[in-house]
């Protein structure tokens, strides 16, 4: 097996497929059991310091912010983050000092809102190390390989670039076409947080709108914590089983947290809270501001409901629902600045 070239990026989250199979057999329950717990218990049980963490959704769309805040609240340390379409999620986890290693497909940016001061600063000062580079497609295919229990998946991208050089991929000659092809290794995150609109108490979950990478990621996860807008009766799930994106045996914990994606968007339910994200982007320009932000919104509140009250309560949530449903115009502090 001649390898034509290979990246120097650190191989994170990879396991020999046989070792992973044995782990699954010993650790993932196939039993149908009630998995409801508090987010505090879920984080305590499934997020050891040093773990490789990945977040479902799209960085600031359908993100388990309830999970993210709890990781910060419990002051988890030395986490490695899967920087897959990472936006607000990674920015505040890095800003909070929980994450000091990241593999990057996309991070340190806030899409239309510009760059992310906190996480950029962390990387540029060496506080957070970028251990490998890759692309969005490649990250998602690393999860596909993991879901399939394979060591790797071939791809036809990254070839010829520095992204490949700093990745953990290898290039071989494809024995069918004779052309060079990239092999990207499986990635099994130690723990994944995913926010869904609904699931039952066993973890059978439905997702409205795009699934993004969550079909593969849920199945690649060693531990999967679902936060959900609502826990519905099992019968509602079983009535339309083709709507189930994640069946129960991939799930380790189910936590009901209405608005659990705030300030990120939850498709069909609520829009980005641009006021709050804007506040973070403003405050996170300085280390003092970062500290002030977490003191106020994480350490200073007793739970997620308390936090929701603090960011504007019912009136704010009602407004975000209207914006999401195109019944009210969007406003944002970062827009005013540009105006």
């Amino acid at each position: 097996m001649k390898v034509l070239s290979e990246g120097c990026g650190e191989l994170i989250g990879w396991h020999d497929p046989d070792e992973h199979r044995a782990w699954v057999r010993a650790n993932k329950s196939r039993d149908l059991k009630d998995k409801r717990m508090t987010i505090a218990d879920a984080v305590e049980e499934y997020v050891p310091d040093g773990a490789l963490v990945a977040l479902g959704g799209f960085g600031h769309v359908r993100v388990s912010m309830a999970g993210v805040y709890e990781i910060i609240r419990q002051r988890k340390k030395h986490l490695t983050l899967a920087g897959k379409t990472a936006v607000h999620d990674s920015d505040i986890l890095i800003g909070a000092g929980c994450v000091d290693r990241i593999e990057v497909a996309y991070a340190f940016g806030h899409e239309m809102r510009g760059l992310s001061p906190a996480s950029r600063r962390a990387v540029e000062t060496g506080q957070c190390k970028v251990v490998a580079e890759l692309s969005n497609a490649v990250y998602q295919w690393r999860f596909l390989a993991a879901m399939m229990g394979l060591p790797f998946i071939p791809t036809r991208n990254m070839l010829g670039t520095d992204t490949l050089k700093y990745s953990s991929a290898k290039v071989i000659k494809d024995p069918f076409s004779g052309k060079p092809i990239c092999l990207v290794p499986a990635c099994y995150p130690d723990v994944v947080f995913m926010h869904v609109p609904r699931c039952d108490m066993y973890g059978n979950a439905q997702i409205d709108g795009t699934i993004i990478e969550d079909f593969e990621l849920a199945r690649a996860a060693r531990r999967l914590i679902l936060t959900t807008e609502e826990i519905v009766p099992e019968s509602e799930i079983r009535r339309q089983p083709w709507q189930t994106a994640i069946p129960f045996f991939f799930v380790d914990a189910v936590v009901e947290v209405p608005y659990g994606s705030h300030p990120c968007q939850m498709p069909y339910l609520y829009f980005f809270d641009e006021e709050h994200i804007g506040e973070w982007l403003r405050m996170s320009k300085s280390l003092e501001g970062v500290k002030e932000y977490f003191d106020k919104y994480v350490y200073g509140v007793k739970d997620f409901t308390d936090y929701l009250e603090l960011v504007g309560g019912l009136r704010k949530l009602d407004y975000l629902k209207k914006v999401e449903q195109l019944r009210a115009p969007m406003t944002a502090p970062w827009l005013k600045k540009r105006g």
Binding site: Y106, N136, L144, G160, T161, D162, Y166, K179, I212
Partner: protein
Amino acid sequence: MKADYTATELLATVASKVLEDGKSVFVGTGLPMIASMLAQRTHAPNLLIIFEAGGIGPRVPVLPISVGDSRTFHEAAAASTMHDVMSLSQAGYVDYGFLGAAMIDWYGNINTTVIGEHDHPKVRLPGSGGANDVGSFCWRTILLMRQEKRRFLKKVDFITTPGYLTGPGAREKAGLPAGAGPYRVITQLGLYDFDEATKRLKLLAVHPGVTIEQIQDNSEFEILIPDHVGTTEPPTPEERRLLREIDPTGMAIGK
């Protein structure tokens, strides 16, 4: 005479004109969305828009903030997965792809990862995101960027996304899909393509009022200048009106 349109409006309208009706385009955040939505509202009503988070053929009501935002699958043909859209791109279904760039070299290789050393960055940028995927898989990629001497470089610090790599045949030799690559570059100064023989950046048209000297002065490398250089069409009032309609808050197009 001061133009009655902004540079951003010009970029959006010039970019939209590159797109063809009945073809597909892989769209990123910001100007690419605006250009694609404008094309749908003008000459290309059946332009198929594809977003990396899984939105396929949406009727985008208003400029999304994110390529994963629910606006990207509003009344879509399908709200699918990244695996689905990246796969169909790799399989050759996507005609056009848009890319933003911090820096490029004369082969259209793009850096959006880092300025300085990778492990000791002077400036850390977001990385590939979907850019390497778009640049690898889409038949024709369109680069939208600001043109300055420190951005049009002889050598970029980091090739995040492939242009023509080291020249003719290099993409294919590396194993990338054959026959694809950068198609147009659009900056605040002009519109470029790539020379057939050398795969180097070549001026196609200047924007109204821009000189060849400005084009060259704002690049560290030599830009090929053909005998005939066109001038781009400025945005019409109707196009400008549509742009406001698409982006009412001015988040990408400006106030």
